[in-house]
């Protein structure tokens, strides 16, 4: 189900039989991060093996959002799946780099790149 607050909209989307996407739009911060956490947990609980988190329209991401993404990667891994991040802006890519999280996150420029990479979230 789509979740919406004034500052963040999260829209789940089925990509293929084994892959689900979450399209994010807006700001992921201490206020809106609980929405993202819930959406990721819903996918985990539904047994999704491949989750693409689409960051193309995310304008702001703080440590709370980073923490949720780390939790998502961990939970997906625990159930034998994988979570991939798609299309972060240069700004958010920089945040991944300065925190060293680019070594933990599986980041792709586009959804087709993520799908082509194989693995649980790929084709």
């Amino acid at each position: 189900m789509e979740s919406n607050s004034m500052n963040l909209k999260v829209t789940p989307r089925r990509v293929d039989d084994s892959t689900q996407a979450l399209d994010l739009e807006g700001e992921v911060d201490v206020y809106t991060a609980p929405i993202l956490r819930q959406e990721i947990m819903d996918q985990v609980d539904a047994g999704v093996k491949g989750l693409l988190v689409n960051l193309e329209k995310v304008e702001y991401l703080d440590s709370t959002g980073l923490g949720i993404l780390i939790g998502g990667v961990k939970r997906m891994k625990e159930q034998g799946g994988a979570m991939k991040l798609v299309g972060p802006s240069a700004r958010i890519t920089r945040i991944f780099e300065i925190t060293g999280l680019n070594r933990i996150f599986d980041v792709y420029a586009s959804e087709s790149d993520a799908l082509a990479s194989g693995g649980a979230a790929g084709g």
Partner: protein, 169 residues
């Protein structure tokens, strides 16, 4: 108000007018965006690059989030919907010739476990990644100076962030 000629623009290369802008927000997540908007306005006057302004915006957001986290921890969870936040955060931005100083001061009592949580996180190198530590790490990287000290008044915490106009970090 009519548009002014370009030489009246404060960002046309001149030295920004010294001054202080203070904003007080309830210690609650939905107000952090307002604090970030204010800092965007202040930092935008200083001739910082886009990345530098964004760095300051994120650092201030992290300092506010840190106060909220300590408040929640003290309370044992976030406030219920509709409940008035019991604490507040004051964001004081001082502009002078070469730097922007932002002091983010809260009135969350820093007793026992909450004491110096931000400072501990700044110095900590634990294996577990948690948002408070990540936030502290981000503040350290994004601005030129960070210090965490007791609030000037009361028993809260003050996070002081300094960004130099000439710096590129």
């Amino acid at each position: 108000m009519s548009s002014s000629s370009s030489d009246a623009s404060p960002s046309s290369g001149g030295i920004p007018t010294p001054g202080t802008v203070t904003l007080t927000i309830p210690c609650s997540p939905e107000f952090v965006g307002t604090a970030r908007l204010t800092i965007l306005g202040v930092a935008g006057r200083m001739g910082f690059s886009y990345d530098q302004v964004e760095d300051i915006r994120l650092a201030v957001g992290e300092a506010c989030a840190n106060a909220i986290e300590r408040s929640n921890r003290r309370r044992g969870g976030p406030p219920a919907d509709g409940q008035t936040p019991e604490h507040s955060i004051s964001i004081r931005s001082s502009v002078d010739a070469g730097r922007l100083v932002v002091e983010v001061e809260d009135d969350v009592p820093s007793g026992n476990a909450a004491a110096g949580a931000a400072a501990a996180a700044l110095g900590g190198a634990g294996d577990d990644v948690n948002p408070v530590e990540l936030g502290a790490l981000l503040m350290e990287i994004l601005v030129d100076e960070v210090s965490v000290e007791p609030a000037t008044e009361g028993s809260g915490t003050r996070v002081r962030l300094v960004k130099y106009a000439a710096g590129d970090s």
